[in-house]
């Protein structure tokens, strides 16, 4: 019966201390919230921790909750908590020469053999994603979070759907450029 209830109805049931309601919400959103959190924490274990903590907080504040849009609320909370987590761990500030160093490492690994193997180019893309401007990286990765639509991304980031789309295309474009650069610098070395 819980499966048929809306998110908002489930949150309503939390007020009468219904554990099953919390479990259903947890099962509904655990996966996508972890993915969302990992966009910021870059670490899936930390992401799972952040999400678990948020569900505990949700339980603690259940009597004060009056939510119109549970999914939006959870997503924004996770984003905030994840960014907060980063600040606490001081992981967020990566010195520029560190990034440059990483980039030169990427170039080092580019032997002709590596270039032709798909796995390697995957890994290179994964590394380059982390060198994208923050908002491009954020939108690109968020667009792959399960069941998160462009509209929902726009709402979480407080930008327009149009901006989400444009940023997504810009990120792909930028990645193509970065990829080309890394090929070229590999070829010239």
């Amino acid at each position: 019966m819980y499966l048929q209830l809306s998110d908002e109805e489930l949150v309503g049931l939390l007020k009468v201390d219904d554990h099953l309601a919390l479990e259903n919400l947890f099962n509904r959103y655990y996966k996508s919230l972890c993915q969302l959190s990992a966009v910021y924490t870059k670490d899936f274990e930390i992401a799972e921790e952040v999400v678990a903590n948020m569900f505990m907080k949700l339980w603690d504040t259940r009597n004060d909750l009056n939510l119109q849009n549970v999914k939006g609320y959870l997503s924004v909370s996770i984003r905030n908590a994840s960014i907060n987590q980063l600040q606490r761990k001081k992981l967020v500030v990566e010195p520029i020469d560190e990034v440059a160093h990483q980039l030169s490492n990427i170039a080092d690994e580019l032997t002709p053999l590596n270039i032709i193997t798909g796995r390697e180019s995957y890994n290179r893309i994964l590394k380059l994603i982390d060198t994208l401007p923050t908002s491009q990286r954020e939108v690109l990765l968020m667009s792959h979070v399960d069941n998160l639509s462009k509209h929902e991304i726009a709402a979480i980031l407080d930008i327009s759907v149009r901006t989400v789309e444009t940023t997504l295309y810009q990120s792909v474009k930028k990645l193509r450029l970065l990829l080309k650069d890394s090929y070229n610098s590999a070829a010239s070395n």
Partner: protein, 339 residues
């Protein structure tokens, strides 16, 4: 165009593409090897970034932790302290969020940050616009131009909808006027472009220097023709047919001095020029009436004189209601039920 191709590829990747979109995408890929490369690179990037978002491994463990937490009896003493801590944390969180949010917005602005200036000229008005490179544009009524503030790119790009006379300062950077699929490229010349999007016709007339007219066909720019002074090209943007020849360029750009010249021009086209120039509405009660071709010249004359001349030349009568004019057959009066 470029964004459209990314849109199609993304839709293809997410399997949300329509049949129509799929056909479009196929055609686009077949157009050039570069497009094919863009397609495969984009797919690879999307796949890799999808792999970046992994699946959670410890769902059971996480839930067990939560369950333990919610089952424990509340300790009254601790709750209060906890709640204050919570509040403090919430306050910090809020502060952090607000600043990060502001920062994100700032970042977002920073890289969509080619600032554009748009200048509009309403019907009945001319506007003189000075571009960042000190070129001068005379913007006719009912026209607008848009350009990047600063002209920082490799080219000096201007978007035009309507009619404008350009007096371009010579620079090594090409100056490009984009009007739909037709682009006019120059280094430093003066020329007139008439490209009201409502007319499906682009007319380029050269006063001085050399001008290249390009058309975008299937996403690629092709040269249509080079024009030299007193040459004019008319391109029908619906069917791609064009005609070019000699003309009096000075007369074409005469509108900047309120001199309107028409040589063997359809009355409906003249009417449209009059609408833009004088800021009025002109309708034909029978569309056929607009096809008659006239040759005439108005040098700084009043609207009333213009209408009288047109009426005499075409053998049509007209009725005026406010700033609305109706051409009718001689024994009729005109009006509209819409106003």
């Amino acid at each position: 165009m470029e964004e459209q191709s990314y849109r199609l590829i993304t839709a293809y990747f997410e399997k949300t593409i329509s049949d129509e979109g799929l056909t479009q995408l196929r055609e686009w890929i077949e157009e050039s090897p570069a497009n094919l490369a863009q397609f495969s690179e984009t797919i690879q990037i999307l796949e890799a970034s999808k792999a970046y978002t992994a699946q959670p491994l410890n769902q059971q463990k996480s839930w067990a932790g939560i369950q333990q937490y919610i089952n424990q009896p509340l300790k009254a003493k601790n709750t209060r302290i906890l709640r204050y801590k919570w509040l403090a944390a919430a306050a910090i969180l809020l502060a952090v969020c607000t600043t990060t949010l502001a920062w994100y917005k700032h970042m977002l602005n920073a890289f969509t940050s080619i600032e554009y200036a748009e200048v509009k000229s309403v019907n009945g008005r001319h506007t003189k616009v000075y571009l960042p490179d000190s070129s001068v544009v005379y913007l006719s009524g009912g026209s607008k131009i848009k350009f990047a503030k600063g002209f920082d790119g490799k080219t000096r790009n201007v978007q035009l909808n309507g009619e404008a006379f350009f007096d371009v300062v010579h620079q090594a950077k090409p100056f490009i006027v984009n009007s739909g699929k037709i682009s006019t490229v120059v280094l430093g010349t003066s020329f007139n472009v008439k490209a009201y999007s409502s007319q499906q016709k682009v007319t380029v007339t050269v006063n001085s220097g050399k001008v290249g007219v390009l058309a975008t066909v299937n996403g690629k720019r092709k040269l249509v023709k080079y024009l030299t002074p007193d040459e004019q090209i008319e391109i029908n943007t619906l069917n791609g047919l064009y005609a070019f020849g000699q003309t009096d360029a000075h007369a074409v750009s005469g509108w900047i001095n309120n001199d309107l010249s028409f040589y063997n021009t359809a009355l409906k086209d003249i009417a449209q020029s009059i609408e833009h120039h004088y800021g009025v509405h002109i309708d034909f009660t029978d569309p056929e009436q607009g096809h008659v071709k006239l040759t005439t010249k108005f040098d700084n004359v009043s609207l009333k004189q213009v209408m009288q001349t047109l009426s005499e030349l075409s053998g049509l009568a007209y009725t005026q209601k406010g700033n609305q004019f109706f051409f009718t057959n001689t024994n009729q009066k005109g009006g509209s039920i819409m106003r």
